[in-house]
Homo-oligomer: 364 residues x 2
């Protein structure tokens, strides 16, 4: 329980906002990320000048305690970083770069002042890493759980916009980085939590998370692939793109539905790293299931022609071809290494039927 | 309890979003409010073209069940209208006009599909009334209460921007419309709810809300004062402005703090209509307390010189002079009709110490 001194009610909302302002920097208009910012936190609305000739992007994502995160094993600083990632990833998936964001938090009584300060320290770290500025938001009480909603703005050249629609039959289906580690990390955390709560070890149990560090980092500190946007915009022509927030299978379905096409996904090409295979093996799961259905990867899934892919290969080896766009009538299929082909369901965890199941589910 | 057919889990998130799209119209780019809209609900982020030469405004507000609204006496349609009002009012308070909005909802199991549809029907009514478009958002489950976060964008001429800072000693302190009805309506609703729950009438009690209709409408269907913006922008020079979302007293303090001035507020000039006086009288309250400390009025509070006020009077009689800006050292004072002058505390309900108190508290 919070002590008297750390209760938010002991300082009130205005003092709390003042502390948040100090942490996120309330940058005066100037160079760098705050260029074009006329007014940040301090008034009824933030004000900024759009870059002439650019279109504006806007994305909103909510993270609810008990649905998207579990405070028993998530630090507030990691949570701050993570809640900002979804919007940054959404902006990247349009071919844009982030500019400004607002953060709205609903705080139950159990959340203390130091916890809020840690949350914003994580947000400030994300701001610094990805060159954008938090310019406003809202702080309210909550009669239930902690809920955080982030709205992120970005900019793009209109000719560089990449939509979900646009995939063409014959396109390669590509994904950046690797898949499945985030949900693998989550499974380890949930297992260790259960062991701890079970008290089987007479209360002496200490989670040993060290061997799983790469998966845990992936889960707690996911990185939006803003690093690929300049390459994708300037060097190749991508036909359709989406970020992998809700599992590869679900995102492939989004692209196919919006583009009016089908797709074949190949098991043999799914990018799964060693730690994910190790964790899947511990749980007796197929690592490819983590890759297909695990959420919160924040990699980019995109389609482009053979010729464009050949160009892309010259610049990066961080992209895998995981399938091919086919005609709509063939639907979305999954081709196993043994050649067996089955329909690929969108999958992903449905957070309406699994409220409290602690699995992250980040579709829009 | 929701029946099997009306549970959101029976259709899943994508079908739910599809229904929302149909209700809010997913307007294709075109004339009217959707002019400049490149892409609404359907992708990772909404895309729109800023009007050349205008600055962009962004505001975010959260409404949490049990803090900002009580579903036992609030219809989902009214709630939909109301959650959009805060952002529209914030944009107006900067001297801007609204363009686009996102709506993020965290839905506990008790919220059914028809309830969500009603919520968006209220949102659609607000869109139509104020000529803006909902272009995205997020829908997630909630392990706690219903929470709704709205982000609203708008545009303004940079030379027309009106900040909280800018008030000058000697300025008139003016407020549009009238104050106190929203909290008066809320008090009636809470009283009738208690009567109903007490069961004193053997379960036959039916609330008689008819005599209070104007206050209830003010509480359930608050109207942002976008109608005054053209007048304020084109005909007069306003020095500072804020909307009255958290009570007049609190907003006067905001203007004074940001402008480095003091203010004297006059009891005799507070605009309170008959229904508010009637309700206050029933509760044995001072109607001026409702005007000073009641939230969610969404009127505009602004300061301007005598000369500018004289010009304003030619165009509208819907503005009252409620005080005067004075030097900082005099602080913020309240002058009663008997001439007695006392410090005016910011007041407003602190929702961190009153979680669950069901009083709305909408500061930023």
């Amino acid at each position: 329980m919070p002590s008297r001194e750390t209760e938010i009610s002991s300082i009130g909302e205005f003092e709390l906002i003042e502390r948040i302002r100090q942490i996120v920097g309330d940058a005066p208009p100037g160079a760098g990320p705050s260029q074009g910012l006329v007014l940040g936190i301090s008034d009824d609305a933030a004000v900024y000048r759009p870059t002439p000739g650019k279109v504006q992007l806007l994305s909103t994502d909510t993270f609810a305690e008990g649905i998207h995160f579990d405070l028993t094993f998530t630090s507030m600083k990691h949570l701050g970083w993570k809640v900002m990632t979804a919007g940054l990833s959404d902006i990247a998936a349009m071919g844009g770069v982030p500019r400004f964001a607002t953060v709205a938090i609903s705080l139950p009584g159990k959340v203390t002042i130091p916890m809020v300060e840690e949350l914003y320290a994580g947000i400030a770290a994300s701001m610094k890493a990805y060159a954008y500025v938090v310019v406003g938001g809202d702080t309210t009480g909550s009669a239930g759980n902690l809920t955080i909603t982030v709205s992120t703005t970005g900019e793009a050249d209109e000719r560089h916009l990449i939509f979900r629609k646009g995939a063409v039959e014959g396109d390669y289906l590509c994904v950046s980085g690797h898949l499945g580690s985030s949900v693998a990390g989550l499974k380890v955390l949930q297992r260790e939590k259960e062991r701890f709560l079970s008290g089987k070890d007479g209360g002496t149990f200490t989670p040993n998370l060290e061997p799983y560090a790469p998966a845990l980092e992936r889960h707690f500190l996911p990185k939006p692939r803003t690093d690929l946007i300049a390459l994708i915009n300037d060097k190749v022509r991508v036909n359709a793109m989406i970020d992998v927030s809700d599992g590869l299978a679900s995102e492939v379905h989004h692209i196919c539905r919006e583009s009016g096409v089908g797709a074949a996904v190949y098991e043999r090409n799914l990018p799964v790293v060693a730690i994910t295979q190790k964790i899947a093996s511990e749980f007796g799961d197929a690592p490819t299931d983590y890759a297909l259905f695990g959420g919160e990867e924040y990699e980019l899934l995109f389609t482009l022609s053979d010729g464009e892919y050949a160009k892309l290969e010259e610049f990066t080896d961080d992209v895998s071809v995981v399938g091919r766009i086919v005609e709509k009538e063939q639907g979305v299929t999954y081709e196993r290494e043994d050649g067996n082909r089955t329909p690929l369901e969108p999958g992903g965890w449905n957070h309406f039927s699994n409220a409290g199941a602690k699995h992250d589910d980040r579709p829009r």
